[in-house]
Amino acid sequence: MSNEKFEPKIVGFLCNWCSYTGADLAGTSRMTYQPNLRIIRVMCSGRVDPQFIFKAFKEGADGVLIAGCHPGDCHYKEGNYKALRRYKLIKKLQSEFGIEDERIRLEWISASEGAKFQEVCNEFTETIRKLGPFNSKKGGKNE
């Protein structure tokens, strides 16, 4: 196991209007980036329930990215602020679950920021790679 190169599993919750479109732009612009991000599209970063984040870690994710529209640019006016507030509160307790600070990340990526999507994706993957796997199976039997 240890000799095998560690490929992080990263779950990304991307909002439909900005970040998901930004990811699309990165793709259509033929930008290359690390293949570790597994994207789930939501309508708004405000839809991201903290349960989803913990669920992702439970299911074996090594990192979770939440990406939404820049503050003030939310398609739904202020969903991204709610995402920001939840994110800030999760930051306050994630270490209690042994989740290192770097493993949960919130980014604002607009529909025109294909390059930023590429950069975040690469950088986040590298950060998690350095951090090592988050052994999700630790911590209890059943389920």
Binding site: G46, R47, K55, E78, K82
Partner: protein, 585 residues
């Protein structure tokens, strides 16, 4: 009815009519000074002296306040009457030698000079009391009165101090027949008739000549009646009895299916650029003021004039005032280049002035615009590429004396130039209108960074908003010229009509729903909805989603602490299954 004879002509007038009014009916002119048809007669000036005969008695009376009697014979120009008038005008000439109406009447009567002592050659007041009566009877302010007696008698405020009762309406000056009263703005006391663009204002007026409907309105803030409860002169003079001061603004509630927002723009306030001297120099005008001046129905009848009435010999037009400027608005206001060119053309057409355009970039982007620009180049309009740094009246050379000097860096030549002009026009940009914030909140709209309303999609839905059934037209969405506005307004109208005609609209399928069985009515979701789509049903003790308002962001679903809310197509189970799926390998 009363039978009388004036200058030999017999006539019948109603009982109670004064001699002056009876004579007026027969087109017989009796000179007056202290008389005003809207005020009680006062017989102070005694210029309206006429001779009357009742029975066998002849006597001299003042025409303004003497009521006719049956069988009265009146001689308006008898020798005796004229003699009395001449004497009186001589007395008035000594009292107020500078009063023009007195001089005119004296001339008519053939009086060349007075035999009495002139106290003050500049005096204009004839002590007719029109001003005092106006202030008391019309305005109701009672701020001025006669003071002193005999030779020292004069009109004044108490102790000659600025009166607290004065509302600054200037009605006294308006009624004064000899222009003896001037109104000054002391202590920044509010002068209620402030000047409108290039002309006097009135509290009852038609907003603009092109107004539809073409009906005057009462400007409550400036109307004397709304300050003192008196006046109502307009009501008295309106023969059609169309004026009613008791009418109030009404709020009318209408139920509609679609709404078009067309709240327009406001012009950039040129005073924010002190270096351009707007407000300090009389001949620095904003584009709107100049537009009003060249309007054929405007105050100058379309003639281009300086503040002193001269025709300008040179005019500078400064583009991009408040636009494309990091200090104010970064965006281009789009219309200024073309209206500035239009101004240049009109100035060339109507005067012999030299015209200078100071521009950053010439943006003649519309149909036929570029051609118009070329036409102006041929007309000899000067175009100087550079942003004007200041407009001053400090002359450095004799040619600059008495002119406005525009300092600009001519970026094409690469030198700083000083251009003396008579008139400078500031081509101010467009800004979001007053009250946009309130409308944003009322209709749940969004604004773009420049604070204009945000359309749903810049290319695919340029007249729609994020709120279904609400459309945008015109400059409330962003600066645009008339053709673009007309086009957008047409599009907004047809979108609105199409929706109204259909009678229903299609919802996005991605909306939130609250399960009645599971909702505890905790209401925490209500504050989270930016579209006010959730409301509390008190009877059922649950929160409910209005699907027509819900945009489907799912914020409430993520927050619902009892899991009663769900988002169609993005249900918790679906997303969790996705998480499990993508992490299964």
């Amino acid at each position: 009815m009363v039978k009388i004879k004036i200058n030999g002509k017999e006539t019948k007038v109603e009982k109670g009519t004064t001699i002056l009014k009876a004579a007026e009916k027969l087109d017989i002119k009796i000179p007056t000074l202290c008389y005003h048809p809207l005020l009680e007669p006062y017989s102070a000036c005694r210029i309206c002296m006429v001779e009357i005969k009742i029975g066998k008695r002849n006597e001299l009376v003042t025409a303004c306040n003497t009521v006719v009697e049956n069988g009265m014979e009146i001689f308006t120009d008898s020798e005796r009457a004229l003699k009395a008038r001449k004497m009186n005008i001589e007395l008035l000439m000594a009292r107020a030698p500078a009063a023009e109406p007195v001089k005119e009447i004296a001339k008519e009567l053939g009086v060349e000079k007075t035999r009495f002592e002139i106290k003050d050659p500049n005096e204009k007041c004839i002590l007719c009391g029109l001003c005092v009566r106006t202030c008391e009877q019309v305005v109701g302010a009672k701020a001025i009165s006669f003071i002193e007696r005999g030779a020292d008698r004069k009109v004044s405020t108490p102790f000659g101090e600025p009166s607290e009762d004065c509302i600054g309406c200037a009605a006294c000056a308006y009624f004064c027949p000899t222009e003896a009263i001037t109104v000054e703005d002391l202590d920044k006391r509010e002068v209620i008739h402030d000047e409108m663009i290039l002309g006097p204002n009135s509290a009852i007026r038609v907003p603009i000549r092109q107004a539809v409907p073409m009906v005057p309105f009462i400007d409550e803030e400036n109307c004397i009646h709304f300050k003192t409860g008196n006046c109502k002169l307009c009501e008295k003079v309106c023969e059609k009895e169309a004026i009613n001061h008791d009418m109030e603004d009404e709020e009318i509630e209408l139920e509609v299916g679609t709404i078009i927002i067309a709240t327009g723009f406001k012009g950039f306030d040129a005073k924010k650029v002190p270096a351009y001297g707007y407000g300090r120099f009389k001949n620095v005008l904003t584009a709107l003021e100049f537009e009003r001046m060249v309007n054929a129905s405007g105050p100058t009848g379309g003639q281009i004039r300086l503040a002193d009435g001269r025709e300008p010999e040179s005019v500078g037009i400064i583009h991009c005032v408040g636009s494309r400027d990091e200090n104010f608005n970064e965006y281009c206001s789009r219309v200024c280049c073309m209206y500035s060119l239009k101004f240049a053309h009109i100035i060339k057409e109507r005067t012999n002035a030299e015209v200078y355009n100071f521009y950053i970039d010439m943006r003649a982007f519309g149909k036929g615009y570029e051609e118009f620009y070329h036409k102006l180049l041929e007309e000899g309009v000067h175009f100087i590429r550079g942003r004007v740094s200041e407009i001053s009246d400090v002359a450095l050379t004799p040619e600059e004396e008495g002119k406005l000097i525009i300092r600009v860096e001519d970026t094409l030549v690469g030198t700083v130039r000083r251009i003396p002009v008579d008139m400078a026009i500031l081509s101010v940009g467009l800004e979001p209108n007053f009250g946009s914030d309130e409308i944003t909140r009322m209709f749940n709209l969004s604004c773009s960074q420049d604070a204009f309303f945000l359309e749903k999609h810049p290319k695919l839905a340029p007249v729609s908003t994020a709120a279904d059934g609400i459309f945008l037209a015109g400059t409330c969405q962003g600066p645009k010229d008339i053709p673009d506005t007309v086009a957008q307004a047409g599009a907004a109208a047809s979108e609105a009509l199409a929706l109204a005609d259909k009678g229903k609209f299609e919802l996005e399928p991605v909306t939130a729903e609250i399960n009645e069985e599971l909702c505890s009515g905790c209401q925490l979701c209500i504050a989270l909805c930016p579209f006010s789509a959730i409301s509390y049903n008190k009877e059922k003790d649950i929160s409910e989603v209005n699907e027509a308002l819900c945009k489907g962001c799912g914020t409430c679903v993520a927050a619902c602490p009892s899991g009663a809310a769900m988002q169609n197509h993005f249900r918790d189970e679906q997303i969790i299954a996705e998480i499990e799926g993508i992490l299964s390998v």
